[in-house]
C-alpha cells in the first residue's frame, strides 16, 4: 500500500509523462464526433492511395476507346473518360499524386514561411526589412506565373512540383506569422520570460511559437485544396505531371469539357478534393483546439 502511494507521488511530481500527454491529447481531440469522423475519412483516403493497385478495379492508364465517355454502370462505377479509362481507378491512383503534392507543398510553404516570419517578427530591424521585401516581391508576382517560371527552370515531377508550389505559397505564412509574433512578442509573459534570462532561441520556440500557431493551422488545412487545384493548372499547361499520370486536379480539368456526356467525370474528383479539404479542416480545427489549454474543459 505504502509503495503504491510513493509511486503515485513520484508520478505526480514528475508531471504527466509523454505518453499520458499523448493519450490526453487524443482524448480531447476525438471528443468531438465530427473530428473523429473526419480523421477516419482522412485515414481511408491515405490507405486508398497507398493500396491503390489492390483497390482499383482497372489499370488507370489503359485506354479503351470503344468505352469512351460511358456513364456509370456496374462495369464502370463512375463511368469512363474520353479515352475510355475507368474514372474510379484514375481517382484512386490520382489520390497518390494529389495527396503528395498537396501535403508536401503546404508543408514546405508552412515550414519555410513560419520560420522566416518568426525571424522577421522576432528580431525586427534589418532582418525584418530583408525578409519582408523578399516576401513582398514573391507576392507581387502572380502565383501561377511564378510557378511556371520555376517549373521551366527546375523541371516537372511530383517532388519538384511540390517544392515549387511550396515556395510560391510561402509568402502568406511569412506575413501571417510575422503579424502573430509581433503581437505575442509584446505580451507580458514573453517579457517575463525574457527577464528570467531566457535566450532568444528558447524564448522563440518555447513561448512565442506555441502561441502563434492557431491561425497557421487553419491556413494550412485550407490551402491543401487550393494547392491540389494549382497542380492541375500547372499540369494543364504542361509543366507539372506529364500526361497519362492521373491526379485529381487534372481529372477535373479534363472532365470539365464533357460535363454533358458524363457529369461524374469532373464531379467525382471534385467531390474528392472537397471532402479532403473538409476533413483536413475539421481535423485541423480539432488539433488547434486540443493544443490550446484555454479550451481544456470546454470541449
Amino acid at each position: 500500500m505504502e509503495k503504491e502511494n510513493t509511486v503515485v507521488q513520484e508520478r505526480k511530481e514528475a508531471g504527466y509523462s509523454r505518453r499520458e500527454k499523448a493519450v490526453k491529447f487524443f482524448r480531447v481531440l476525438f471528443k468531438r464526433k465530427l473530428v473523429l469522423i473526419s480523421a477516419v475519412g482522412l485515414v481511408l483516403i491515405v490507405l486508398m492511395a497507398i493500396f491503390a493497385p489492390l483497390v482499383a478495379p482497372y489499370d488507370p492508364n489503359v485506354q479503351s476507346l470503344m468505352d469512351a465517355l460511358k456513364t456509370p454502370s456496374s462495369q464502370y462505377l463512375l463511368g469512363t473518360d474520353n479515352y475510355g479509362r475507368d474514372i474510379l481507378s484514375r481517382i484512386i491512383y490520382g489520390a497518390r499524386v494529389s495527396l503528395i503534392v498537396g501535403v508536401l507543398a503546404v508543408g514546405i510553404a508552412c515550414a519555410i514561411g513560419t520560420f522566416f516570419g518568426m525571424l522577421a517578427g522576432f528580431f525586427g530591424g534589418i532582418v525584418d526589412d530583408v525578409i519582408n521585401r523578399i516576401s513582398e516581391a514573391i507576392r507581387s508576382i502572380p502565383q501561377i506565373v511564378l510557378a511556371m517560371a520555376l517549373c521551366a527552370v527546375f523541371g516537372g515531377g511530383i517532388i519538384n512540383l511540390s517544392i515549387i508550389l511550396g515556395i510560391s505559397n510561402m509568402a502568406v505564412y511569412i506575413r501571417m506569422m510575422r503579424g502573430q509574433v509581433l503581437s505575442i512578442k509584446e505580451t507580458d509573459y514573453v517579457m517575463a520570460a525574457k527577464l528570467q534570462g531566457n535566450k532568444s532561441l528558447r524564448l522563440m520556440f518555447k513561448h512565442v511559437l506555441p502561441n502563434c500557431i492557431s491561425p497557421i493551422i487553419v491556413q494550412m488545412t485550407l490551402q491543401v485544396g487550393q494547392t491540389i487545384l494549382s497542380e492541375a493548372g500547372l499540369s494543364f499547361l504542361g509543366l507539372g505531371i506529364s500526361a497519362p499520370t492521373a491526379s485529381w486536379g487534372s481529372i477535373v480539368s479534363d472532365g470539365r469539357v464533357y460535363l454533358m456526356q458524363n457529369p461524374f467525370f469532373a464531379l467525382a474528383p471534385g467531390v474528392c478534393i472537397a471532402l479532403l479539404v473538409i476533413f483536413l479542416n475539421t481535423v485541423g480545427d480539432g488539433v488547434r483546439d486540443a493544443l490550446d489549454p484555454r479550451m481544456r474543459g470546454r470541449l
Binding site: 511530481e13 508531471g15 507580458d188 502561441n211 481544456r296
Partner: protein, 674 residues
C-alpha cells in the same frame, strides 16, 4: 409613484452551455430627482448588468427574465416595451443618459465630436441643425472644453482621454436627461482627472436637477460623491443606506468585511488588512442560501438552511439582507474584534543599499520615413536618482505617462538608459551587454500588473514557476527541482497539487500568486511590482498585499512598488517616490510624505484621492488641481509642473528645480523650498 425611477425585482439571465445563469438575482432600487446614488460591488457582482437591464441593453445570450422599471412620466413598466421600440430608443439617450468606462472607444472616430452631439440633440429634442449646434457648443462649454466653437469640428482622437470623457458627459447631458448613469466612467483615468470629472458631474447634476447613478468598484468615489449607496454582491443588493450610514454603521457582514480589507490614507503604520477569504461565487453555481455565507465571518449554521435573505429595514432608510439579528451581529463583532490577528510582519531594513539609481535618463527617438530619420525625441525619464535598501519597500506613484514603467524597465534593463548609473549591489549594470547581464537577471524579478496576460497560456503552472530554476541551473536533480517548485507554491499559498493546471484554470488572485511565485523562484534581491494589485478585486487585493508583506519579512527582499492607488502605496511602502512627467519630484518616508507633502503636485495628488470615509471627504477642499497631465512629447519648459501649479513663479517657467534634501531624507524638487 413616489420616485423618479423605481426598479423592482430585476432578474437577468445569461444562457451558458444551455443552462440559465442568473447574473442579476432580484435587484430593486429607486432614485429621486437630483440625487446622486452610488452602486458599488466587485467585478461580476451584477452592477453593470442591472443598469443595462433597466435600459434593455442586455444582448443575447442574456435576457431580462422578470422585474419592473417605472420611470416618472411613463405609464407602463418600461420592460414591457420591446428593446428596440421607438419608446425605448427615446428613453435611452433622451430621458436616461449614459457614460461608459472606455473613453477611447465610446466615440465614433470617423465623425467629428460636434456632429455626434448634434445628432443626439436633434434626435431627442425638437431642434433644427442650427439650434442643435448652438446647444452643442453650450454643452461643450459646460464641460469646460476650451475653445468650444473651434473644437466642434475636431475628431475624437484629437482629444486626450480625460477630454473625451468630458465630451461623453456633454453628449449624455445634451438631451436634458432626468437620469445620468455613469458606469465606471472614471476608472480608466488618472486620479486628478477623475476627481475633476466627478466634481463636474456633481455640479452639473445639482444645477440641472439631474439624478446620477455612479456605478463603481471604488469605495472612495462613492464616499465622496454619492448621497445614498447600494452595495451589491453576487447579483443582489446586500445593503443600502445613506453614505454616512454605510461607512460608519454598516450592518451587512460583506460591507463590514470590505471596509476592513481596504487600506486607507490615514491608517497607522502597523495596520494589517483583513482580507475576505475565498472567492465570490460563480453565478452558475450560486447556492440557494445567502451567497456570502461561504466567506462570511459572522455566519451561523442556520444561515445555510434558510433561503437567500431579503433586504430588511434596520434603520432610517437603511436596509440590509442578512438573517442575523443586530444583537447576534453585535456579539459576533465583539468576538471578531477580540480574536487575535496575526501581527503585522516585522520588517528588517538593512543599511546596505541593494540598488542605487543615479541620474538615469531615457529618451526614445521619434523616427520618420523609410530612412528612419530621427526627427525628435520623447524624453521619457530624466535625472532619476534614488536608492533602495535591503528589505525596504519603495513606493512609486505618479499618473499614467509619468515614466514609472519606463523607469522599471530601465532597472530591469529591458531598455538601456542613455545616461546614468544603475548600481546593483555596487555593480553598474546600466550599460552592460546582454551576456554580461545574465548573472544579474536572476537577482531582479518582476511582478506584472495583469495576471491574465503575464502568464504564458500554453505552459502549466509548474513549468512557469520552474522556468528560471531551469535556466539558472539552480537545481541539480529533477527531484530537487520539483521540491523547490512545491516549496514556492506553498510559500505563496497555492496547493502544489495544482501544478499541472494551465493559467486560465486559476482565478485572478491565484494567478497573481503564481506571478509572485515565479518572481521569487530565482531568489531575487529586488522585486519590481508593477501595479500588482490594480487588476484584482478589492477583496482579493488585501490577500495579495498581505502576502507581499509576509514574504518580505520572511525573505528580506526589497520591493519597488509601482501603483497609482495612493492608499495602497502608503500601506505597503517605507518610502515613497513621486514622479511627474518623467522626473522625480519628491522622495520621503511614507508617513511623512502623507502627513506633510512638500511638493505642490504631491499635495494635489493626495487631495484628489477619494477615500472610503465620508468624514474625511467632507473636510477636503474641492479639486485642488486644474488641467491635465501634458503629453510627454511637449513637456513644458522649466519645472514640468509649473503650468498646473498655483504657486508657480517666473523662475519655475525657466529653470528645472533639482532634487534637494530637506532633512530626514525628505527630498523635494521645488523652488519653494530653496
Amino acid at each position: 409613484m413616489k420616485h423618479l425611477l423605481e426598479v423592482n425585482g430585476i432578474h437577468t439571465c445569461f444562457m451558458m452551455d444551455g443552462k440559465k445563469v442568473r447574473a442579476v438575482d432580484g435587484v430593486s432600487f429607486h432614485l429621486d430627482r437630483g440625487e446622486i446614488v452610488g452602486v458599488v460591488g466587485e467585478s461580476g457582482s451584477g452592477k453593470s448588468v442591472t443598469m443595462m437591464s433597466v435600459l434593455q441593453l442586455v444582448g443575447a445570450p442574456g435576457f431580462v427574465e422578470s422585474g419592473t422599471v417605472y420611470l416618472d412620466g411613463e405609464e407602463k413598466n418600461l420592460l414591457e416595451y420591446d428593446g428596440n421600440s421607438e419608446k425605448m430608443r427615446s428613453v435611452r439617450g433622451g430621458r436616461i443618459g449614459m457614460i461608459f468606462q472606455e473613453p477611447m472607444t465610446s466615440l465614433n472616430p470617423v465623425l467629428t465630436i460636434g456632429y455626434q452631439i448634434q445628432e443626439n440633440i436633434m434626435k431627442h429634442l425638437d431642434m433644427d441643425r442650427q439650434q442643435a449646434k448652438e446647444r452643442t457648443i453650450e454643452m461643450l462649454r459646460m464641460v469646460k472644453i476650451p475653445d468650444a466653437e473651434q473644437r466642434f469640428d475636431y475628431y475624437p482622437q484629437q482629444f486626450s482621454g480625460g477630454m473625451r470623457q468630458r465630451i461623453m458627459i456633454a453628449m449624455a447631458m445634451s438631451a436634458k436627461p432626468d437620469i445620468l448613469i455613469a458606469d465606471e466612467a472614471t476608472t480608466a483615468l488618472d486620479v486628478t482627472t477623475q476627481a475633476q470629472l466627478l466634481e463636474m458631474i456633481r455640479s452639473i447634476a445639482k444645477e440641472t436637477n439631474t439624478a446620477v447613478i455612479l456605478v463603481t468598484h471604488n469605495l472612495g468615489i462613492v464616499a465622496r460623491f454619492a448621497e445614498r449607496i447600494y452595495v451589491m454582491y453576487s447579483g443582489s443588493v446586500v445593503e443600502t443606506a445613506g453614505t454616512r450610514d454605510i461607512f460608519k454603521h454598516s450592518e451587512h457582514p460583506y460591507t463590514r468585511s470590505l471596509l476592513r480589507a481596504i487600506p486607507r490614507l490615514d491608517d497607522p503604520r502597523d495596520r494589517i488588512l483583513i482580507p475576505i477569504e475565498g472567492l465570490p461565487p460563480n453565478p452558475a453555481l450560486r447556492p440557494d442560501y445567502c451567497p456570502f455565507y461561504d466567506r462570511c465571518e459572522y455566519r451561523k449554521p442556520e444561515c445555510a438552511k434558510r433561503n437567500k435573505p431579503e433586504l430588511e429595514k434596520v434603520g432610517e432608510e437603511h436596509y440590509s439582507a442578512c438573517w442575523l439579528t443586530r444583537e447576534e451581529l453585535r456579539q459576533k463583532e465583539i468576538e471578531i474584534q477580540n480574536t487575535p490577528r496575526k501581527a503585522a510582519p516585522q520588517k528588517n531594513i538593512g543599511s546596505e543599499k541593494v540598488l542605487e539609481v543615479k541620474n538615469v535618463r531615457k529618451y526614445f527617438p521619434v523616427l520618420k520615413g523609410i530612412m528612419k530619420r530621427k526627427i525628435g525625441e520623447v524624453k521619457a525619464i530624466e535625472e532619476i536618482t534614488f536608492d533602495l535598501h535591503k528589505g525596504e519597500t519603495m513606493g512609486i506613484v505618479g499618473e499614467s505617462g509619468c515614466g514609472k514603467t519606463t523607469m522599471a524597465r530601465c532597472i530591469m534593463r529591458v531598455y538601456r538608459p542613455e545616461e546614468g548609473e544603475i548600481k546593483f549591489s555596487g555593480v553598474d549594470i546600466a550599460q552592460m551587454k546582454d551576456k554580461e547581464l545574465q548573472p544579474y537577471r536572476s537577482r531582479i524579478a518582476m511582478i506584472f500588473q495583469d495576471p491574465f496576460s503575464s502568464l504564458d497560456p500554453r505552459q502549466t503552472a509548474g513549468s512557469i514557476v520552474a522556468e528560471s530554476l531551469l535556466i539558472n541551473k539552480s537545481c541539480k536533480t529533477k527531484e530537487e527541482l520539483n521540491r523547490r517548485v512545491d516549496e514556492l507554491f506553498t510559500l505563496v499559498g497555492l496547493d502544489p497539487g495544482l501544478k499541472d493546471r494551465v493559467p486560465h484554470e486559476f482565478s485572478g488572485g491565484q494567478r497573481q500568486r503564481l506571478g509572485i511565485a515565479r518572481a521569487l523562484s530565482s531568489d531575487p534581491d529586488v522585486i519590481i511590482c508593477d501595479e500588482p494589485i490594480s487588476a484584482l478585486d478589492v477583496s482579493i487585493q488585501a490577500q495579495i498585499i498581505n502576502l507581499l508583506e509576509e514574504l518580505q519579512a520572511k525573505l528580506g527582499v526589497s520591493y519597488l512598488f509601482i501603483a497609482h492607488d495612493l492608499a495602497v502605496v502608503k500601506h505597503i511602502s517605507d518610502r515613497v517616490l513621486v514622479m511627474y512627467l518623467g522626473r522625480v519630484v519628491e522622495i520621503a518616508d511614507a508617513q511623512q510624505l502623507y502627513a506633510n507633502p512638500m511638493h505642490p503636485y504631491t499635495e494635489a495628488l493626495l487631495a484628489a484621492v477619494p477615500e472610503a470615509d465620508p468624514d474625511v471627504e467632507e473636510g477636503k477642499a474641492a479639486v485642488p488641481i486644474s488641467g491635465e497631465v501634458p503629453s510627454i512629447l511637449n513637456r513644458p519648459q522649466g519645472c514640468p509642473f509649473h503650468d498646473r501649479c498655483s504657486k508657480a513663479s517666473e523662475r519655475c517657467r525657466k529653470e528645472v528645480p533639482k532634487l534637494m534634501d530637506k532633512g530626514d531624507g525628505h527630498m523635494v524638487a521645488c523652488f519653494l523650498y530653496q
